[in-house]
């Protein structure tokens, strides 16, 4: 059961244009969402996150939008740069009612290619 879905395995965008990466989730208990970026032969690195109490979070060129009613989030990169070419993973977490560890569920990833 894939609770976090990234339906586009790949995306190509021209340099300077906007990149929009999408993510859908099914678990209504998720209350925190993250995006990670992964270059080949490296581990994923945290990019940006958003709490379920917000609908937008911005950090420089990166903005994450959350639509709770649609169970959908998106990552916007403006303007896109060749160095943004990587695999992007969406992730979501639900706080355990008993406290302690909060499991993070990852999507399958979208490979972004920014063409110079």
């Amino acid at each position: 059961d894939q609770q976090v879905k990234q339906n586009s395995p790949s995306l190509s965008v021209q340099e300077g244009r906007i990149s929009i990466l999408n993510c859908d989730y099914t678990n209504s208990m998720f209350d925190y969402f993250l995006w990670y970026k992964k270059y080949p032969a490296e581990g994923p690195t945290f990019l940006i996150s958003i709490s379920s109490i917000k609908d937008k979070n911005e950090d420089g060129r990166f903005t994450v939008f959350l639509n709770k009613s649609a169970k959908h989030l998106s990552l916007h990169i403006v303007p896109s740069q060749p160095g943004d070419s990587a695999v992007y993973f969406c992730a979501a977490s639900a706080r355990r009612t008993s406290g302690g560890y909060q499991k993070v569920t990852f999507g399958t990833g979208t490979k972004l290619q920014v063409i110079p």
Binding site: Q6, P9, Y32, L34, Y36, A41, E42, G43, P44, T45, F46, S49, F89, A91, S93, G100, Y101, Q102, K103, V104, F106, G107, T108, G109
Partner: protein, 113 residues
């Protein structure tokens, strides 16, 4: 800067061998994780540990075990390696009460022949 290191970047083992993958973090994080990454399947959680000697199964624990004797070190053990365990293995750590952000190591590409 948080640093998570993994003992090997590339490893080739034979079917049936016992395999140890080690992970060390230097940020005093309570939580540590082992994932595997496969094409089209994303990152799947194998095991995690929230304290020394404490562990919980993730989504795909079959064929794996873990050990956490010290807070900074988390080991993944393949008791008898099989070809379907050929994968990229990623270790991560995080602290309790944070914003779920995990810090990942560079990964170990394991090939079982």
């Amino acid at each position: 800067d948080v640093k998570v290191t993994q003992s090997s970047r590339y490893l080739v083992k034979r079917t049936g061998e016992k395999v140890f993958l080690e992970c060390v973090q230097d940020m005093d994080h309570e939580n540590m994780f082992w994932y595997r990454q496969d094409p089209g399947l994303g990152l799947r959680l194998i095991y995690f540990s929230y304290d020394v000697k404490m562990k919980e199964k993730g989504d795909i624990p079959e064929g794996y075990s873990v050990s956490r004797e010290k807070k900074e070190r988390f080991s993944l053990i393949l008791e008898s390696a099989s070809t379907n365990q050929t994968s990229m293995y990623l270790c991560a750590s995080s602290f309790v009460g944070g914003t779920y952000e995990q810090y990942f190591g560079p990964g170990t590409r394991l090939t079982v022949t």
